[in-house]
């Protein structure tokens, strides 16, 4: 498990939020490697609906920052074809809830080409996928449906949680020879700023990040829930360890098991619906490999098994520090 932020080792930093970190990283990677191309809807002159590609069209032109027709499956299908020919394509899908039309290409070609070509054809493609609620968006704009992706082999699914994490994880994803889905917590896009190294760097796509060390209970979480877990950790009467999974597929199982074996308690915090959410897999792993170390049952603080509600009541759907705190308190108070 990675224990430190990239920030500490660097001399020169700038204040960035997540969306600035995305923009800086894309520009850096495009300057470093001329085969990096962006393909997506509105990524051109307007700079993306979140302005994550702002200025790149002007710098690199329409053949490297490619505005696509409004067709997610067409975008992913042509991007896979470009990647099969050695281009490093970064696809932007505007919202996770818009990804479903592309599911055909995802299942049939993106995740299968490397395997069914016996390793002969690589698909070095990155999908940037803004996800999650809390921005008062309309329906289909706030979803966390990573389970559909993480259930499928042949693709990495990662989710950075801070500006510095975003830069290192996105750069590593673009350089990785396998397809990577980078889930970007869009409610953090313009959230907290932090100093981010200006130089290029990559972070591991295989390792979780230890956000906070503790001895009583482990909180397993990722993305936009990490700051909620941090608030909860301050408010509860327990020494909380927070593991930011960073990679949802494949999972850093060692990091999960090491932490839970140490604390003996486990709370899983995620935005997605509970049933068959990634928390189900994490809970299963803990039960299979660390049951005799548990001092309480595993609890999952998650969204409910409903469609993402409209923004009038979405705050009651979304887990937060309070829900996480209740879960922590419950497992702390439990006795076998």
């Amino acid at each position: 498990m990675s224990r430190t932020d990239a920030v500490e080792s660097s001399e020169s930093t700038s204040e960035m939020n997540v969306v600035t970190a995305v923009k800086e990283t894309l520009g850096q990677e495009m300057r470093r490697d001329e085969q990096v191309r962006l393909l997506g809807y509105d990524v051109g002159p307007i700079g993306g609906v979140y302005r994550a590609t702002e200025g790149l069209y002007e710098e690199f032109g329409p053949e490297r920052v490619i505005d696509a027709p409004l067709s997610e499956n067409g975008i992913l299908g042509t991007a896979v074809g470009m990647a099969m020919r050695g281009e490093r394509v970064v696809v932007e899908i505007q919202f996770m809830g818009f990804f479903y039309p592309a599911f055909g290409q995802f299942m049939y070609t993106l995740v299968k080409t490397f395997e069914r070509s016996g390793g002969g054809l690589e698909v070095p493609l990155t999908i940037r996928l803004p996800y999650g609620g809390g921005i008062k968006a309309s329906e289909y704009h706030s979803e966390s449906t990573e389970t559909y992706l993480a259930h499928t082999p042949g693709v990495r699914v990662v989710c950075p949680s801070t500006p510095a994490e975003t830069k290192g994880v996105l750069a590593a994803s673009i350089r990785d020879p396998d397809p990577v889905v980078v889930m970007e917590p869009k409610n953090q896009y313009r959230g907290a700023r932090e100093p981010v190294p200006e130089a290029e760097y990559t972070l591991s796509l295989d390792e979780a990040r230890l956000v906070r060390e503790g001895s009583d209970v482990t909180v397993l979480t990722w993305g936009a829930m990490v700051p909620e877990a941090e608030i909860a950790a301050e408010e509860v009467d327990a020494d909380v360890e927070i593991v930011d999974l960073r990679t949802l597929s494949p999972l850093d199982v060692e990091a999960v098991l090491d932490s839970v074996k140490k604390t003996g308690r486990c709370v899983i915090l995620h935005e997605a619906r509970r049933t068959l959410g990634l928390g189900a897999e994490l809970s299963a792993l803990v039960n299979e490999y660390a049951l005799d170390r548990l001092r309480a049952p595993v609890k999952r603080a998650t969204g409910y098994d409903v469609h993402m509600p409209g923004h009038e009541i979405e705050e009651f759907y979304l887990p937060d520090a309070e829900r996480a705190g209740h879960a922590i308190e419950a497992v702390m108070n439990y006795e076998f």
Binding site: A68, M82, T202
Partner: protein
């Protein structure tokens, strides 16, 4: 009897060879050698596919899908490509592989269901075809979208390479077909798409796929120039494709070609056409067979005689038999090979599941790990295999194209060849 299941009147298309082999137009500029190579490839294709049927009946192949009577479509169109071009075939285009001399043993081994790594290991590509072939696509229409992406890569990189892909008339009802053509049109991609209209998509006839007058006109909605040709006339198919390919190569964008043919045989060996169609249709189409027609033309032109034909047929049979022999000699894949080539690095999950399978194969209980530390201390492999290069800016790639487990050297040296010998450039 419905001989033409499209809305369009019969035989209203580009044709050079009449069904009896006589000239109905100006033939393309092909040498006697080129023409005989086309003929030889057609004979080879038919011999290969007929062999797959026999092997399927014997249980050596789980399924076989033939292109009998449709061979001229893939043959004439693929022949219009040049070295370094790309081809994204579906499963009824054996003739495209044959005309570019793709290794038949690898194709046969793949049809026998062997893992691609096993095929690579035991039947390595000696001389790859000059045209790059992707593995044959099984899901429908998605190859066309990938092919357009391949063409976009060429255009954006200022390469003069063209990408050809194939789709059946039924699959033009899929969104991917339209999305692909739309992108091809918007970006002027050097992508040529061939619709192999054999008039039956399993049990559904062409007129139930579309109310459009033809399949070719579907290109119009996407601003893609289109043409409709006699798909049983290899010269017409070649000429139309050549024109589209060279237009694309010159930077003038994509093309769509509908080749009208007929599915003379079952959809595949799991199908029984007599249940849903009047088999007397076949008599009409048998008179339009692409092999008979082309052979008559070549005899008339003085390029072929009985002796040459016999030689070509004997050679085809020998090549197919040799391919079958070589494919049969490939040893069975290790079951653990199923884990190969999902990602470039090995995850905890993969490592554990590999060892579970290994335990099962060894007659041991795979469920005895209650700590996550692995079965019997076996789980010591490859933390070094992790990628990501922490915070040092290094490239996060494993370059051996294989998994990181240290067993039996499964990673191939060549690394980039596809099953039919196409090579990534």
């Amino acid at each position: 009897m419905s001989q033409w299941t499209e809305q369009r009147p019969a035989e209203d298309f580009h044709r050079i060879l009449a069904p009896d082999g006589s000239l109905d137009g100006e033939p393309p500029d092909l040498s006697a050698e080129d023409l005989c190579h086309l003929y030889r490839s057609l004979v080879l294709t038919r011999a290969f596919e007929d062999k797959t049927l026999r092997l399927q009946r014997r249980g050596e192949l789980s399924i076989a899908a033939r292109s009998r009577g449709e061979e001229a479509v893939a043959l004439g169109s693929a022949a219009a490509l040049s070295a370094d071009d790309w081809c994204f075939p579906s499963y009824r285009q054996t003739a495209a592989l044959a005309v570019w001399d793709a290794p038949l043993d690898r194709a046969m081994a793949t049809l026998m269901g062997l893992e691609p790594e096993t095929v690579d290991e035991h039947l390595p590509v000696e001389s790859p075809p000059e045209v790059n072939f992707t593995p044959t696509y099984v899901p429908l229409a998605v190859n066309v979208t990938n092919a357009v992406g391949s063409a976009m890569a060429d255009r954006f990189s200022d390469r003069e390479t063209v990408t050809l892909s194939y789709i059946g008339e039924g699959s033009t009802s899929q969104g991917d077909f339209h999305e692909a053509l739309n992108f091809a049109g918007v970006y002027d991609a050097p992508a040529v798409t061939v619709v192999q209209n054999n008039q039956w998509a399993i049990s559904v006839p062409a007129h139930q796929q579309t109310a459009a007058e033809t399949f070719a006109v579907k290109g119009a909605a996407h601003g893609v120039p289109h043409e409709r040709v006699d798909g049983n006339d290899v010269l017409a198919v070649y000429e139309a494709t050549k024109e589209a390919v060279e237009r694309a190569r010159a930077g003038n964008g994509p093309g769509l070609i509908e080749c009208v043919t007929y599915r003379m045989v079952e959809h595949n060996t799991a199908d029984e056409p007599s249940v849903y169609r009047d088999e007397s249709e076949r008599e009409y189409w048998a008179e339009r067979d692409p092999l008979d027609r082309f052979e008559a033309y070549l005899r008339e032109a003085g390029h072929l005689d009985d002796g040459a034909i016999e030689e070509i047929e004997t050679e085809a049979t020998e090549r197919v038999d040799d391919a079958v022999r070589r494919a049969r000699e490939v040893p069975a894949s290790a079951p653990e090979r199923m884990f190969d080539h999902h990602l470039h690095t090995e995850s905890w999950t993969e490592r554990h599941q590999r060892s579970e399978l290994r335990a099962e194969l060894d007659g041991r209980n795979p469920f005895t790990d209650f700590t996550g530390e692995g079965l019997d201390g076996e789980d010591t492999a490859s933390k070094e295999g992790r990628v990501g290069g922490d915070e040092d800016g290094s490239d996060s790639t494993a370059t051996d194209g294989g998994t990181t487990q240290a067993d039996e050297g499964t990673a191939r040296e060549e690394g980039v060849a596809t099953w039919d010998g196409g090579e990534r450039r």
